[in-house]
């Protein structure tokens, strides 16, 4: 029986392979991108094209090399796989080309919402989505007699119940490691409170206000229920705490749900009771305290027309609906036509349905993120006031933004 299914799967993938073989390109394709299975799957699809050489350099350090690799003329990389945060660095330096002509010519299989347009021009094609959302342990919540939280206030109250009943000492989890992770959590919380990072239409920072303080106070209150080492816990460490059964509720990346539900990595009771839910709101707001993310691909500007076309065709083949088989489907929350959401995708879908905000695609958002990551940890340790921490963030950001020419 088992052998038969394997054989069937083989036939299926062979069939899929033949449709993929229809991809014919006539020039070189070279892809740079992050390294995880979903991106590998896309790159493999691009490599299935015949007629031209397709190379892929997938590495966690892609952001450090993609810009340099696309600035030359001709560029080394004809395509960079990026996310909504990192496309900005490529647009700032003007190394990616508008795709409108290629979309009109070859983009028939694309859904409209896959097109990332900036000022009316298509700059990237998105293929997967991600978001942080609530995960909870149904058994612990049941024992404590609480409902799954809809708001962060509920979460705090629930955490107190769990601790008071002696179920867990540190019932909450969170990737609060100082640096990128902490800045991301603040971004979520600040957006949930309805805050704006900048004055409209300018790069002047506006985080040092009551909304910012409220967001920080909420983070501080949550951290009281986290492991005391929370400032060193990145999402790897937080997931590990979860798998060990030490945490009852956390806000975690949708892309990390697969391993949390993997029976090989955790105890049966944790796997069975790990439940995904929509992201929470905070302070009576409607916007959930999370951000939506997409991953997509771009085409380099400094390359011959033939290579741009070949790149577009190969990448289209990488995200072709035909390739969504049993192997590829569970790898991510795909934006590709014909994708049927798996169980691990409910959180991300709920986030999108609640009209969560995408992570801002602003030229200077990255500078703000860096400043937040470096300056907020003093407050989280109780070494300075929230106002002082936010003033430091604005000062650090301003210095950086002046250097980069966003502020005078």
């Amino acid at each position: 029986m088992f052998l038969r299914t394997v054989a069937m799967a083989g036939v299926m993938s062979a069939l899929a392979g033949t449709t993929a073989m229809a991809c014919e390109i006539s020039a070189r394709v070279s892809i740079v991108g992050n390294e995880f299975p979903a991106i590998h799957a896309v790159a493999d699809g691009a490599k299935a094209c015949a007629g031209g050489e397709v190379e892929a350099n997938l590495t966690a350090d892609h952001q450090k090399i993609n810009l340099a690799g696309m600035q030359g003329n001709p560029a080394e990389y004809t395509s960079a796989i990026i996310a909504n945060s990192s496309i900005v660095a490529l647009m700032n330096e003007d190394v990616i080309r508008p795709l409108d002509d290629l979309v009109a010519k070859h983009g028939g299989a694309l859904k409209k919402n896959q097109l990332i347009t900036v000022n009316g021009q298509v700059m990237a094609v998105a293929f997967m989505a991600n978001a942080q959302h609530l995960v909870y342990r149904s058994d612990i919540l049941e024992q404590a007699g609480i409902e799954p939280p809809k708001t962060y206030e509920d979460m705090l109250a629930g955490a107190k119940m769990i601790r008071d009943k002696g179920l867990l000492e540190y019932p909450l989890g969170g990737a609060y490691a100082s640096g990128w992770n902490l800045a991301q959590e603040f971004t979520n919380m600040y957006i949930g409170h309805g805050g704006a990072f900048f004055e409209a239409g300018s790069a002047t920072p506006t985080v040092n206000n009551e909304t910012g303080v409220a967001a920080l106070e909420m983070m501080k209150a949550l951290s009281e229920y986290m492991n005391p080492d929370f400032l060193t816990h990145d999402s790897n460490a937080t997931s590990a705490e979860w798998k060990a059964g030490n945490v009852a509720m956390m806000n975690m990346w949708g892309s990390r749900m697969g391993p949390l539900k993997d029976p090989e990595q955790s105890t049966p009771e944790v796997v069975a009771t790990t439940t995904l839910a929509a992201p929470m709101t905070v302070a009576g707001g409607d916007t959930p305290a999370t951000t939506l993310w997409w991953d997509g691909w771009t085409v380099a500007k400094n390359i011959p027309e033939a290579e741009a076309e070949a790149t577009f065709l190969a990448m289209m083949n990488g995200i072709s609906p035909d390739r969504l088989d049993d192997e590829m489907t569970p790898l991510a929350v795909w934006l590709i036509d014909g994708y049927e959401p798996t169980d691990a995708a409910v959180g991300v879908f709920a986030a999108a349905n609640m009209n969560a905000v995408p992570y801002p695609m602003l030229p200077y958002q990255g500078l703000m993120h860096t400043a937040l990551g470096a300056e907020l940890s003093d407050f989280m340790q109780g070494k300075e006031s929230a106002e002082q921490a936010l003033a430091d963030v604005e000062a650090a950001y301003t210095a950086a933004a002046k250097e980069k020419g966003f502020l005078q």
């Binding site: 347009t117 490691a177 999108a352």
Partner: protein, 341 residues
């Protein structure tokens, strides 16, 4: 040695260093004096999988014109060196005029990234360097006195802290010192405090990084000293013995002077390496508690938007810092050098 002979002997290494170090340094210094052009911002309608939104973006055509005119960017002079991310002159003088006490001034300095990093970097450098030299010397002397069959094994095991890849090494150590890891549990048991956590307190984190630093670098000092001990002249030791020197005196007056050039060498290299401490901070996720100049560079280059000018300025400051730090050793070397000629 004649100038000509010297030239040919030295040429290959000089070429390598010129091409791959000197030229980049020139470009880094230039980079630190220039900043990118002012970005011409426009409001735009951006759409994606999650709907449309009015955002700000860069007007590429307008910016392109600026770039073509001056490819290096705007000349910024020393302004980057003096901004808040670096020497923070304005903030420091502000803190000085508004100080309530000297302690208040120091804590205001601690709130500025550069001074905070310098604080940890100097503490680290001046504790780790002497400790690792002493430890390395002790290990070298002890291993040297072992039976020769044991020596090889000891050399290998002593080198392990250096050999094991720091990436994963620090990951595993990071886990071992966790409150629930084997070393963390042992410390809790020894201290009699079940809530002790190295990672939650700044002083403990500093100590953990310093201990890691000594542990990681002591093998280097050990191997250099051990090789030096092999050339120790026996007759000097014997004549000291005949003069009735105690073992301690032998070490102090015969062994240490013989190893002195190597001690200088190890001190030079380690002062420099420790001043650029980086790996344990990243490996232990310790940025909330301790930062260093190299970490600042890493942070500037690692963001979504890379701050090349800021990173260049910090790099130049690092070089200057190393030069100041090494100057006493260098003056000594200069005297030795002149004494010889």
């Amino acid at each position: 040695m004649k100038h000509r002979t010297f030239f040919w002997f030295f040429l290959p290494t000089a070429l390598a260093m010129l091409l791959f170090i000197a030229m980049p340094i020139v470009s880094v210094v230039t980079q630190s004096l220039f900043t990118p052009h002012e970005a011409v911002l426009i409001t735009s309608e951006n759409c994606g999988p999650f709907g449309c939104k009015t955002e700000t973006t860069i007007d590429q055509e307008a910016t392109e014109a600026l770039r073509a005119e001056k490819p290096l960017g705007r000349f910024a002079g020393l302004s980057i060196y003096l901004d808040r991310g670096h020497l923070a002159i304005a903030e420091v003088s502000d803190a000085w005029t508004n100080r309530e006490s000297f302690g208040g001034f120091v804590s205001a300095l601690g709130n500025l990234p550069f001074y905070r990093a310098i604080g940890f970097t100097l503490t680290y450098t001046f504790t780790v360097t002497p400790l690792l030299i002493i430890l390395g010397l002790m290990i070298a002397l002890a291993v040297n006195s072992l039976h020769r069959h044991l020596k090889g094994l000891m050399i290998f095991f002593s080198l392990l802290p250096m050999i094991v890849n720091p990436l994963v090494g620090s990951l595993i150590l990071f886990w071992m010192i966790d409150a629930r890891g084997i070393i963390g549990s042992a410390l809790q048991w020894m201290a009699g405090d079940p809530d002790l956590s190295l990672k939650a307190s700044t002083p403990m984190m500093w100590i953990a990084i310093i201990v890691y630093g000594v542990w990681h670098s002591a093998p280097f000092a050990f191997v250099v000293f051990y090789a030096g001990l092999q050339t120790l002249p026996k007759d000097q030791l014997e004549s000291a013995q005949i003069d009735g020197a105690t073992r301690w005196q032998q070490v102090l007056y015969v062994v240490v002077p013989h190893l002195m050039p190597l001690v200088t060498f190890v001190a030079l290299i380690q002062l420099m390496d420790n001043f650029r401490v980086f790996e344990p901070i990243v490996g232990f996720n310790a940025a909330a508690h301790a930062t260093s100049l190299s970490w600042i560079i890493f942070n500037d280059l690692g963001g979504e938007t890379r701050q090349l000018s800021a990173a260049s300025a910090t790099s130049v400051l690092t070089i200057l810092g190393v030069a100041i730090l090494l100057s006493p050793v260098l003056v000594r070397t200069w005297r030795d050098f002149k004494g010889k000629t």
